[in-house]
Symmetry: C2
Subunit: 379 residues, 2 copies
Amino acid sequence: MNEVAILGVGMTPVREHWESSIRDLAADAGRAALEDAGITHVDAIYVGNMTSDRLNAQRHLGAIVADALGQWGVEAVKIEAACGSAGSAMRQGLLAVASGEMERVLVIGVEKMTETLGRETTAALATAADADYEVEQGVSFVGLNALIMRRYMHEFGYEHRDFAPFAITAHANASKNPKALYRYVIDERDYEDGRVVADPIRLYDASPIGDGAAALLLVPAARAPGAVRVIGSAGATDTLAIHDREDMLRLKAAQTSAARAYAQAGVGPEDIDLFELHDAFSIMAALSLEACGFAGRGQGVRLGLDGDILPGGRIPIATMGGLKARGHPVGATGLYQLAEATLQLRGQAGKAQIDGARIAMTQNIGGSGATIVTHILAK
Amino acid sequence: MNEVAILGVGMTPVREHWESSIRDLAADAGRAALEDAGITHVDAIYVGNMTSDRLNAQRHLGAIVADALGQWGVEAVKIEAACGSAGSAMRQGLLAVASGEMERVLVIGVEKMTETLGRETTAALATAADADYEVEQGVSFVGLNALIMRRYMHEFGYEHRDFAPFAITAHANASKNPKALYRYVIDERDYEDGRVVADPIRLYDASPIGDGAAALLLVPAARAPGAVRVIGSAGATDTLAIHDREDMLRLKAAQTSAARAYAQAGVGPEDIDLFELHDAFSIMAALSLEACGFAGRGQGVRLGLDGDILPGGRIPIATMGGLKARGHPVGATGLYQLAEATLQLRGQAGKAQIDGARIAMTQNIGGSGATIVTHILAK
């Protein structure tokens, strides 16, 4: 297998993009990545997206994005794994380059969610869960995460306010990122005063949806000396339905994919300088930290309480706002994480820069932990 | 790049599968491919599907199919390129094995379309076309193909009845395939008596939807001496909107992907013993034959009139019924084509066997020619 490097990075801001169609958004990010890489023509395009078929009446995004970018005729395809779509698109782009068949591959994550009514978005997001055994019972996607959070609090004796540092840190970091959706800081009182969404999940436990696109241009590492390299890349799955798992407080697919990525990279949790995790809900941040070996079972929340997740802490997370405050355009998120991690390793993260960052990890989750993709990058 | 071989093949019959959910269908075909290959555990699963998010309220098929197959924890993802989804899933599975990272990859195409009302299916299929510039005008997917067919007839002076051999041959071949949806023969009178769907497309010009799944188990060719090998594999795109093309009577992406596959395989049209083409509409069969070099511009229809497409002819097509009569479960079709071609090369096609078949080609089309994937197999 060829080692793969990231030669270009592009992102649109996350917000309501009323003036852009889904193809425009994807093309904007893709064009930015091409310009950043100084490349005009690619061999293939991989598009990560979750909901365009329902929310934008448009599927078949591979071909349409290739056309919108003026990359006429290139091979192009869409990858879908719910909110893990963009991380999964990265996996396929990487394998295409690693195979030796492709030399310049553009991976783009895109989502446009603010055109439709809330109930349509809720229905579209619920298709990430098990239609026959979960959604059929009337439970929504946030409802499933609420069940997991409640169980976690019960099992390990936490209060709701113990999760506050995840949201507070994400908002503080987003305030330094010009592309973030929510660039305001919050305090513990704001967090606790948030309206209940699905008990115990309150407003600031849940990430906001948004429109946006992020892109990377991948090449063989041998062709790009000095570029950020992908030193670990792995995906794994778990059951969609949380009641089918032996232990719903363990993200098995996070554990598997992280272990595989660590082994490929020859590093361990102690070597990671920053971790762009999938904080779609604060409970997911805690479980992800535990599954990746940054904390023991039931101890993920402690990393927040002890200040370990802050920019200067032991394992900085959500360094540019995370899903919680940069925003969560679901099928684009995995590539926002990778694009932000690349900027950090290049020293181009501006006010959000983590000093001396050399190794970064990203983790993208589809469903309530059913698809999990982990990447490790190094400069 | 490692050369890739097809070690296992599995298919469900194409019909209305009221008793099976979409995960059951995919698992049935996947299990059959594993049994055929004599393998119990795989490294990854690629699922091709187009409409499950709208017609079955379920997306995130990678993880759910892995679970349904008892392949717990493996990497799994869904690939979507409209009706070209399964051919595109094959491409990704092949690249994963070719990269050297994966050794046993299951690719499955699945679609379940008969649970919903016709107008919902029509709306779901229309998302393959350009939402902003085609569908917004009120044109349906069959309507777009009708425009192309009408133009072809006008340009080259054909009558509707000249297309009859495509449907008649497909039905005759399907009558020999126990897994086909329509196992009855038709004659020229039946063809001409078909009701108008979208003028000039009549009933027997259009392929029927259905429920079904088809699967292949891929391994490095070095590990499977004697197995059918993939000697050419390429994908290409064109604009979604047919009015954006220089020439709507030329399938540019078919031409590009076929040329690339021929070059990889070191063969030409004259070496192909059978061609599983994408006869979603009879006009697509004609255009596909032309783009792949079996006939000159405007001459594809002649291959039917001259008997060249019959089982004993120069270039047998739709040998087990094609989309027209085996049936077209849209996101599964590309893998039905590949599974059938594999059976032909193994000499396991039963009554539909093409004598002495050594090299087979398949071509899967998404939209009205926007995504086209071509494979060449050899025994």
